[in-house]
């Protein structure tokens, strides 16, 4: 269960797939798959749900998708973009 870090720190525009770090002005550009994953994590979808959503749209092996989701999830936590919802 994740939520976007404080609104004072990050602005996430899922329409344009952009995350702006309000602390330093840097912005991260998300590709379509990354955008699906981040939206899914914030909307409290399970990893399997996100995986299904991606495999339904893209011709990518399930294992690869699963690994990508987990890898992206840890990157977002590491960068402080998402935090575990209490």
């Amino acid at each position: 269960m994740y939520k976007l870090a404080s609104e004072q720190e990050f602005e996430y525009d899922r329409e344009s797939a952009v995350i702006i770090d309000l602390n330093n002005g840097e912005f991260f550009e998300l590709n379509e798959v990354a955008n699906i994953i981040l939206s899914g994590l914030i909307e409290n979808k399970s990893i399997i749900e996100i995986q299904n959503e991606i495999t339904a749209e893209y011709d990518i092996p399930e294992d690869t998708v699963l690994n990508d989701i987990k890898s992206f999830e840890s990157q977002m936590i590491k960068k402080g973009v998402i935090v575990v919802q209490s």
Binding site: E11, S16, I20, G25, E26
Partner: protein, 328 residues
């Protein structure tokens, strides 16, 4: 001998006005907001302090205080990406070359410590005025962008690109070789009302040198600083334009590539946001979110092309595209 000069310039931008007040204590010849400072012999250190404040009528008050200290000077280059946030002191710091700046976002107070051998008027203008305006203006539904503008039949065409991407050169060529009129070639402001309103910010613009003699012979402009290719000057009476901003050309100049090969590509609005973000200094402030919101609004209102070229940009291709857009 030190001199103290004070000057107030009022910029009418959209439905609000900004008073720019300078209070400067400097060593040698200085005109208000014309930072032609000869410091080669003394090599003092300047502390520039900019304080912004909001007046009762909603206008922003900015004033710059320049103080001289005897220190060794070195060249500096201001780079926005060198800005970092100090959580402990809740301040932003600039570090670039030999420049150290501190921006206190909550008190909207900024202090830059600059060591430089030669003072560049444009740099100071950007530091003292534009950076602060960029940070503060979104709360008044107005945003500043680094870019050039030409008009064709009252349609505004904006050129956005990184330094060296050819904004000045292309707008200059368009104004000479085609019926396009150059509006500005460095900074413009967009006021977000029912329609977008464009305001050229002429102070500190860099114009291609040889074309500027006529401008500089009038009393409306004051020459600030001169390099081998550009003259930076101040417009003493900034005015809004009746140019309707309609289209952005994002310039992507390739260092290596086929000469005379200019490709003009369509850009979708969501791609445009990212492309503009990557070509603007994204200095954070408490209005960063507002600035982003205005950028989205801007991108959803205008059309855009990516112009990829190497060598010289093909002005004819560009003008042809502009005619198509202008004619609707």
């Amino acid at each position: 001998m030190n001199t103290i000069q004070r000057e107030t310039i009022r910029y009418d931008i959209a439905n609000f006005s900004i008073n720019l007040k300078a209070s400067a204590s400097i060593h040698s010849q200085m005109q208000p907001f014309c930072y032609r400072i000869n410091m080669k012999s003394e090599k003092p250190r300047l502390d520039i302090e900019i304080i912004t404040d909001c007046e009762k009528d909603g206008s922003i008050l900015l004033w710059a205080k320049i103080q001289e200290k005897k220190e060794t000077f070195n060249r500096f280059e201001l780079k926005a990406y060198n800005l970092f946030f100090d959580k402990e002191f809740d301040c932003y710091y600039f570090v670039g070359g030999n420049l150290l700046g501190k921006y206190d976002r909550f008190n909207e107070k900024a202090v830059w410590y600059i060591n430089e051998e030669k003072f560049y008027a444009r740099n100071i203008f950007h530091i003292c005025i534009l950076d602060i305006l960029c940070l503060s203006s979104p709360k008044y539904e107005s945003a500043f962008y680094h870019g050039a503008v030409v008009s064709l039949n009252s349609t505004g065409f904006m050129f956005i690109g990184n330094s060296g991407s050819g904004k000045s050169t292309i707008t200059q060529k368009l104004s000479i070789q085609t019926p396009c009129k150059k509006i500005c070639d460095d900074v413009f402001s967009i006021a977000f009302k029912d329609t977008l309103q464009l305001y050229p910010i002429n102070s500190g613009n860099g114009y291609i040198k040889n074309s500027m003699n006529d401008f500089l012979n009038t009393s409306e402009y004051v020459k600030l600083y001169e390099t081998s290719s550009k003259i930076y000057f101040l417009d003493n009476s900034p005015k809004p334009t009746n140019v309707q901003p309609k289209h952005v050309f994002l310039l992507d100049r390739k260092v290596n590539g086929d000469l005379d090969n200019t490709i003009i590509q369509e850009i979708k609005p969501d791609e445009l946001i990212k492309l503009i973000l990557s070509r603007q200094a994204n200095v954070p402030s408490k209005f960063t979110k507002e600035r982003y919101r205005l950028l989205k609004k801007f991108c959803s209102t205008i059309s855009a092309n990516l112009v990829v070229y190497s060598g010289d940009c093909n002005i004819n291709s560009l003008y042809k595209r502009m005619c198509q857009i202008s004619e609707g």
